[in-house]
Structure formats: C-alpha cells, structure tokens
C-alpha cells in the first residue's frame, strides 16, 4: 500500500503564490543551512522535490526548528492514518464512529497543514519532506485494528508533545509562541486518545497503564517516539538531535 501522506487534493509544490506558501528566500535558506548541520540540510533540501517518494534518511535537524519538524512528522503520520480511516471505513464501525473519526481526521490535517505553514512563515525555514506512510500492518476494514492503531498513535502523540515542550528554547524570539501552540495541540491529542481508549475499553480514558501513581501522563524523548513511529514511515527519520 503506497499513498502519499498529503491527500491528492493538496499539491504543496504548486500554488506558491498562496500567501502562506511563500518560498523561502535564498538568503534565509543559506542562513538556515548554516545554522544547522549544513551539509545534511543542503543535501535534504536538494533532494526534496525529486525524491519525495523515495525512502531515505530524513534528519529532523536541531534547535527549535527540529521540534517543529518533529511535530510536523508525527502530524503527517496521524493525518494520513485518519484520512485512510475515513476513505476506507472499517466495515464493523459502530453508529457514530465514522462521523467522529471524520472530525479527528480534520483536526489532524489542520495540525499538519498549520505546522507546515508555521515552519515556512513563522520559523522562515524549510519543512521536512512529505513522508510516505507504511500502513501495511493495519487492517483498515477492521474496527479493532483501526482502534488499536488510533490509540497507539494518540497516546504516542501525547507523550511526544509532553516530552518535547522542554526542548523548545525561549532564546528564539518565537520560542514562547511555539510552546504555546504545542500546548494548544497536545490537549486535543489527549482528547482524541481518551475518546479512542473509551471506544476500545469503556472507562480507560486515563487508565493506570497510561497515567502513573503521581497522576502524570507519559512523556517520551524524540528518539523513543520515532523508534515506535518508524515502522509506519518509509523514510528513516533521524531524531537524534531534536531540541539540541
């Protein structure tokens, strides 16, 4: 199964005249390239248009931009998953579930597209490429398979944002904005997680296997999160310097 994470109606490389799709200026690009691991950034940027569907290593980079790209990668994955859930609904979905998953799919698509726009227009940088999902382990016709995957993605997303907050540096003039935006998104992921958990096991919205004895939700490092998410993505993501 091979489908691009961005749905067919969206052509990010086209419509560059759209206000939020301003291509980064040559000067900004070199500032970006110099500020990060220069050679890697240049190689990735150079590959972006030609190799979008080719598996390869995608570095999420470092600094605040890497945290944004990390979030963008996870939202690409979630958005692609729910887009497929809506496109090919499980045959045994119960009443109302498809309608709710249609809403969740929109939330995740908004997160994905907003983060991409923010990277380009607020961070004045180049987002990572469109990732190609690998959903071969998921049986989209099966409610149980879809719900189990949804729970895994949502709980993972919550733990990812919880761990990433402290990696956002305030020394960047946009650092406070990035943290606030991450906070606005993570609680919505937690709402999704609670909803899906309750569908699988009623009352498990904040189960003891997710919330510890101090009443704390999970928190994971970028490398731990990507290690879990990697099986669903064709490209190899390198999160080793996220937030550093």
């Amino acid at each position: 199964m091979s489908h691009k994470i961005l749905s067919g109606s969206q052509a990010p490389e086209a419509n560059l005249d759209q206000p939020l799709y301003t291509p980064i200026k040559r000067r900004s690009f070199f500032m970006y390239a110099g500020a990060t691991a220069g050679a890697t950034a240049l190689v990735l940027a150079g590959c972006k248009k030609d190799d979008e569907n080719s598996p390869g290593i995608v570095s999420l980079g470092n600094g605040n931009l890497s945290v944004l790209n990390y979030a963008y990668a996870l939202e690409q994955l979630e958005a692609a998953f729910y887009a497929q859930v809506v496109k090919t609904p499980a045959t045994d979905f119960k009443s109302g579930e498809l309608a709710y998953f249609t809403q969740v799919a929109a939330h995740e698509a908004i997160h994905r597209d907003f983060l991409k726009a923010a990277i380009i227009n607020v961070a004045k940088a180049s987002p990572i490429q469109d990732l190609t999902p690998n959903f071969s382990s998921i049986t989209f016709t099966s409610r149980a398979s879809v719900l189990a995957t949804a729970q895994a993605f949502e709980d993972l997303g919550v733990a990812a944002y919880n761990g990433a907050g402290k990696l956002i540096s305030a020394s960047d003039s946009n650092g406070a904005t990035y943290l606030t935006v991450a906070g606005k998104i993570v609680s919505v992921e937690a709402r999704h997680a609670a909803y899906v958990r309750d569908l699988i096991t009623p009352g498990s919205f904040a189960d003891d296997n997710q919330v510890d004895s101090n009443g704390l939700d999970k928190s994971m490092t970028p490398t731990a999160v990507i290690a879990v998410a990697q099986k669903y993505i064709n490209q190899t993501l390198d999160a080793s310097s996220v937030g550093k």
């Binding site: 939020l20 227009n121 402290k166 606005k184 937690a190 609670a194 009352g203 919330v211």
Partner: protein, 283 residues
C-alpha cells in the same frame, strides 16, 4: 553558603549556566566587589538577582508561584470530586460513571500530593500554598449527578486552559532534584498533568453527551469557562485565520467547528481566578 557549589550544582543540570553569565570571572569579580561593599547578609539577594539576570533570556517566571497556582486549582478539583463522591446523588450514577469519577478523583488527589512535594522540595515547606475547598453553598445547589457533572466538565476544561496559559512561565527552567520525587523538569511535569486533565475533560464531556473536543456545538460553550481573551471558538493561530479558503492548504477550506476543536485555548491566571470562573467556586 558556598557560591561555587551552587554554580557547579546548577551546571550539572544546566550545562550552559556559565554561558548565561557574562563569564565565570565576571561572576566572581562582581561577587567580590559587592562582597567588599556589602554586609554578608546581602549576598543571597545579590545571588538571586544574578540568577534572574542569568535566566533573563528564558521566559521563566517564578516557578513557586506557578506551581502554587496549579496547586490551588488541583485542591479545588480534588475537593469537588470528594464532595461528589460523598453526595447522595453519587449512588444514582451508573457503576461506569462512578468508576470514572473515582479514577479522576484519584488523579486530582495525586496531583495535589505531587505539587505539594515538589513545591516543598524546591522552596521549603513554608512555600506550599494553603488548601482551598470547593464552595459548600455552591455545591449544595447541584441537586443531581448531571448538575455536578456539568460543573466537573467546566472545571476540567478550565484546568486544561489554565495549565496551558502558564507553560511559557516555566519555559527554560533547568531540571531540579526534588527529594522523594527525583529529577524533574517543572514544565514537563506541568504538561504531563495538563494532558491528564484533557483526558478527564474528554471523558466527562462524553458522559454528558458532548463531543470530547470543544467545537462550538456544546451545550455549555457560551459559559465563561469557554470565553476569554482568546476564547475556545478562536479560529486564528499564529496570525492566520485557518477557516479562510486555502490559507494553510491550497484548495482546502476547513470548517470553523473543526478549526476550533483542533486547538484548545489558554486562559490567563486573572481569567481563571475571576469570579465568573474558578474564583467564585473557592470556599
């Protein structure tokens, strides 16, 4: 007081600490100069101001103040659920609903205990804020399990917004070692509580027949819990109206309901403690 030890301990959790000061030598020379001029008693004040200056590049506010603010809200929630469980209406709820309230209550009580331990560990026992209770006379007006749930939903959604609103006040703080807890980062701990509150809010909303997320179609959406300087029906993020056609995705227009639901919004401390929200609920 061993100033070198303080700096070195700080360096263990914040490797950039020496970079934050102009230089290690400048720290000691300014300390020396002032130490000559000032009584030794003035040194702690000096060090405090130096640390404030060192972290001026961060957004860090006073973490004790932020944590006590969180503690106040957790006390309020914890006491509310204790009152719910002790209420005669609790027995009218289904066993599933009772189990959910018991689970949520357990978390709020744990949050109170954790925050007390952290505040005490960082600032000493005297820094821990006083307990607050949910106003008894207000609770008495809630004459059904469903009426109590409506308040629970608003308390949880306000809690989510309150934590979110203070995140930047904890940004840039170094990890600290808290006795009986271990090494923690205040922002990370706050975020880990924040997402639990969101899980609670989602479940209570569903118990009440609402969507788990806030999309403008809820029965309580006009209540102060959902209004504010940045209301929950906000559709503008980072300066962009996300409902405008093609604004973030060429050819795609997102509905207001979906955009509103995709982002939860902050409340400031003043807004949370206003009498229209949590303020009037405190005994």
């Amino acid at each position: 007081m061993n100033f070198l030890n303080i700096l070195n301990q700080l360096a263990e959790v914040d490797s950039n600490v020496f970079d934050r000061f102009d230089s290690r030598r400048a720290v000691f020379s300014s300390l020396g100069t002032v130490a000559k001029r000032s009584a030794l008693a003035a040194a702690p004040v000096l060090i405090t101001s130096m640390f404030q200056k060192a972290y001026a590049g961060t957004n860090a506010g006073d973490p004790i103040e932020v944590l006590n603010y969180a503690l106040t809200l957790e006390y309020l929630e914890a006491d509310f659920y204790n009152k719910m469980k002790a209420s005669p209406f609790f027995a009218t709820a289904s066993s599933a609903d009772q189990a959910a309230i018991n689970q949520i209550s357990k978390h709020e009580t744990a949050h109170v205990a954790l925050l007390r331990t952290v505040i005490s560990g960082v600032g000493g026992a005297s820094a821990v804020g006083a307990p607050v209770s949910f106003k008894t006379s207000t609770f008495a007006t809630l004459t059904s399990f469903q009426a109590q749930l409506a308040i629970a939903q608003q308390l949880e959604d306000i809690g989510v917004r309150a934590y979110k609103g203070r995140a930047t006040d904890l940004q840039g703080l170094p990890d600290v070692n808290v006795p009986n807890v271990g090494t923690i980062n205040a922002l990370e701990s706050a975020l880990r509580i924040h997402s639990v509150e969101a899980r609670h809010a989602a479940h209570i909303r569903v118990m009440r027949g609402q969507t788990p997320w806030i999309n403008g179609n809820g029965d309580l959406d006009s209540q102060p819990a959902y209004t504010g300087t940045t209301p929950e029906n906000n559709v503008t993020q980072a300066g962009y109206n996300l409902t405008s056609a093609g604004v973030i995705t060429p050819g795609v227009t997102y509905s207001a309901a979906d955009v509103q639901a995709a982002f939860d919004e902050i409340l400031t401390k003043a807004e949370v403690l206003d009498n229209s929200r949590a303020g009037s609920l405190v005994q």
